[in-house]
Symmetry: D2
């Protein structure tokens, strides 16, 4: 089976990571690569690590260019996917790495992103309860945000054991911000420095995490989420804590059991043996999520630490995983749990 | 006034930072510099940045070597300070950068550090309520831990406004771990990676933060504390959150007011104007703490973010500040709020 | 075809990288994994990124453990390979990532490494003139050093155009030093800092580069080589300069031509289009060498810049490439030219 | 003595470093701070580490604003200094951190920078032969480029011992490129990566190094210069090599002697004891240059390694040092040789 794909937004970090992964996928033929202001450039100028595509040029992002592919990946700023997807019609599977179709609530969308809601698509986190079945054979997929991926997977197995409020502080590499030319993203500013942003519940991934955990819990979960920028290109390490319900008091065994059951058969989520804690470089470039839990017995509080590569499983890897499900290919095809370390 | 000082543990990071700061202090004459396994070495071998001391050699850490100085700084592993301090008697002011005399509860000491409690000394965080007066003229000072410094200052002004449990996730540079030769502290492992440690309330700074906040609140405060190692040499960025009491509901004004009042006259704690958030490189090498607060109105939750240089205000800067208070010198002598950035 | 392999030294960086690459190789079954002081540990403790091998334990490095594999990779400190190889006899292909069998001159060996020369094996840099043919079907391979790999490939095409002395300054990540627990390799020391070492021709890779370039030139080439440690885990960027002979004066065209010809059919050496310069992150994790040349016309001096991942093409990737040649597999099997960036 | 100063270009890295140093200078009162597009902003927005100036606002860069100060520092893009300096007339000492007045040859200026040469000013590297005397009492100073500073100091003592061509490869942090919003300067691109630029003699600092070394030698010296960007904010480590003349053959003693003599009385240039090699973090934030030399005896080649902080002694520190000389203050006033490490 040869699947012909196109990538819209191939000059950015998510687009580059998609192509890196797809080049290793046995069933893929890489078709059109498009960009906006960089259209006409050699891809190599923007993705110097993709040598097998060194001769390719970026084309304009138009429906004409993108048509005629089996799968079209959209790695565009939010607000740009809906129209393109409609124009492409049902001829192609469309996998949107952007935010446009993640939120199910139109009110949430309008509050957090502004403008009209484009509707929601099957949500590309198959490891969440009852989610994989919606992705098999899907023609549209909304790839989750990077923080929601790691945060939701870190807490979903525990929702029955915890109270209704969770606190998440997630340390992230800078590639999550894309290639935006902002002073605070310059190497000189980033190296040797840590900084928080979107503090006080202001980050747009907050409603997405809330949506996922509330769905998993079957009741509203409140999410305190603070992202912290650290001096690394890739990787998110999320520290997630929540009060345990009285019934779980001091019951670290129950907690471990819940996580082991949840992820025993998941190919990409790895619940570590006791005594091992995740690090972001262990998942770098891979589709793996590494995770460990413990209970702070003085406080009867659950603490989960989880690591993910924001560009891989956090974005492009999830997109490929969902493509596999949509196409009926093996879910792990072209993907790996092996990180590039040290 | 010329004050003659000695540093025990001059080959390590805390010792080096003490010397860096003391070299800029107008009233200090640097006397004996001691070490353990490195005794006999040129200081330059261990502290290549201290050129004015390039000709100095490290001596053995003995009471004979340390006697005869006005102030003796101890930058030793925990458990080594009490005996030295006793031998030095009252002839010298002793400022202990280690943990031995920080905890007031002997039970806490035994639980967290093991062995017998050496007793507590005046606690060197003058910005905490009623603390400065205990340091003026003191002959013994226990310099706070780096995480407790930033965490306690971040939350102390709010203790009357919040519920009894706080969650702190603090991202730290690697110098906080000292020059320990452990594989996970190698540059190849650290760069490009974030990792949590001491998770689940297992870090020894937890009881110290608890002690400080409970004292400030006049009631027991429970502390969920998770430290995260990030790829930078220096700096801690602490994200501290707590549920606001009903009375403070949506009252961001009260919160800002509390912080402004608390630190209006503090020379080193800088509560930032609205819209500005702290970064660790802005305080690098300085004795400043930068801080910002907000209220997550969806959750009625306080979020404070604070930055400190773990080696400066987090250790050696605090030691110099306390020395100034002990000696009756201006508190800011030899210290600065100017960071080295970018 | 299934090839059963063993790795001696599987706890280190070179061993980990070998396993990372071999896990992606279609024809490989991973057998014994051995270590010295870490024998008995879970591999996961030392290689947390190798999840598919998470259940494996490290065994002792003995001939009994290593016997019975088709290929044995040795990733050991120098001086430990010869005896093991002899004991293994001809039953296994032995691929030595260490230095023991790289130098052809016994005098050079004794001067640079001390002790008796173990003899030389086919040298695993197939891109050098007349080298590939010696590797096809070989039973023993000496994998080149990382600096010699990039330096030799950078200058070999130009040996007929340049005078007899070359100057190489190579900036390297810290993983080249292995997991050695030395203070100067701690993250706190490495981050934010650059430093030279082995200055003045003192680095052991100097005679290896000299050997390669002299062989390519058919005359003695003198090599001034200075390695510089930079704050990154992986990657070498070599800046190589040499005086052009009079006949090549101002002849940038001839120079480009020589490089294009030399590497036109090489799958892993990529001579970049004009205007593009190599960066180490573009080759991270890949088996590619990226290269660009120019002529400083004011000085009639050739300047070549080349990038390689020291652990991949610089060590473990070359080992796999040579294994492929030794076994008669496609040379590129299990290897990629796609880097992990950003 | 109180000297009132102004800084034009106070929002950039050089401007920020000037202010950091001047805040520690005992004789300075900080007057107008100007910018271009950032005029009107709080300085804190651009220089969050300069807390004592947290209330200051940036003004427009006009002669009216800059007039009435004793010293005006210009930290502007090249081409902007000459006109401002002329308008300021002789009322102020003008210290230009830009390139406009560094080159003595109008031809060189036009070739490397384009446009008309603004003329040359006393060159602010007092450690070069016969240079200090031109700076004492000067009303105009051209602050050297960062690479020329470290390269010239590294080689000047040896000019009588070496042949006419030198090869310099200098590894630099990214702050040397300023706050330019270019994709290749983003943290995501810079971290974990090394890259060369201005290769083949194309960097504008080449003629400046050539000018300095030729002046020191009294004969033309040819300079092969390659700058390499490394993942750190600050610091330059220059590796400088040159063939020794026959007369100096194997004469490492003569070489050390030349360096010891040259810098014995220099307060900021530190020739290290044998066995010690410079690192950039040892000079971070300081006005020191650390240096070591050796002779590669196989090649009879001198190798010098020198470290400097590009923003401090490489730019702003040199500017303050020259201001001191110009005003007749002690040359070291407000400056330090103590780096911020680790």
């Amino acid at each position: 089976m040869t699947v012909r794909i196109a990538v819209a937004g191939a000059s950015g970090y998510a687009g580059g990571e998609l192509l890196r992964l797809l080049l290793a996928h046995p069933d893929i033929e890489i078709g059109a690569l498009t960009a906006n202001s960089s259209a006409g450039d050699l891809l190599l100028k923007h993705q110097p690590h993709l040598l097998p595509l060194a001769d390719r040029r970026l084309q304009d992002t138009t429906v004409e260019t993108l048509k005629g592919h089996d799968v079209v990946f959209l790695a565009l700023p939010h607000g740009h996917s809906a129209e393109l997807a409609e124009q492409l019609g049902d001829s192609a599977i469309v996998i949107d790495c952007g935010a446009d179709h993640r939120l199910t609530s139109a009110d949430d969308w309008t509050r957090w992103y502004g403008g009209e809601h484009a509707g929601s698509w099957p949500y590309g986190l198959p490891e969440l309860p009852n989610q994989r079945e919606k992705l098999v054979g899907a023609r549209r997929v909304a790839v989750p945000g990077c923080y929601p991926t790691v945060s939701s997977l870190a807490l979903a197995p525990a929702v029955d054991l915890i109270e209704d409020e969770v606190v998440i502080v997630a340390v992230s590499g800078t590639s999550g911000a894309g290639k935006s030319l902002k002073p605070n993203l310059l190497g000189s500013e980033v190296m040797g420095s840590a900084s928080a942003y979107g503090v006080g519940g202001a980050h747009r991934h907050t409603p997405e995490i809330t949506q996922n955990l509330s769905a998993a819990a079957g009741r509203p979960i409140k999410v305190s989420f603070t992202p912290v920028l650290a001096p690394m290109s890739r990787g998110i390490l999320a520290t997630c804590t929540a009060q345990l319900k009285t019934a779980a008091l001091n019951d670290a065994v129950n907690v471990r059991d819940a996580y082991e059951k949840a992820y025993a058969n998941e190919p990409f989520v790895h619940f570590l043996p006791e005594g091992f804690w995740p690090t972001t470089n262990a998942v770098l470039g891979s589709n793996a999520v590494q995770m460990q839990v413990t209970v702070d017995e003085d406080l009867n509080r659950l603490v989960v630490v989880a690591a993910v590569d924001n560009l891989a499983k956090g974005t492009a890897g999830a997109a490929v995983q969902c493509m596999n499900l949509a196409l009926g290919l093996p879910e792990t095809s072209g993907l790996s749990t092996v990180g590039v370390a040290p």
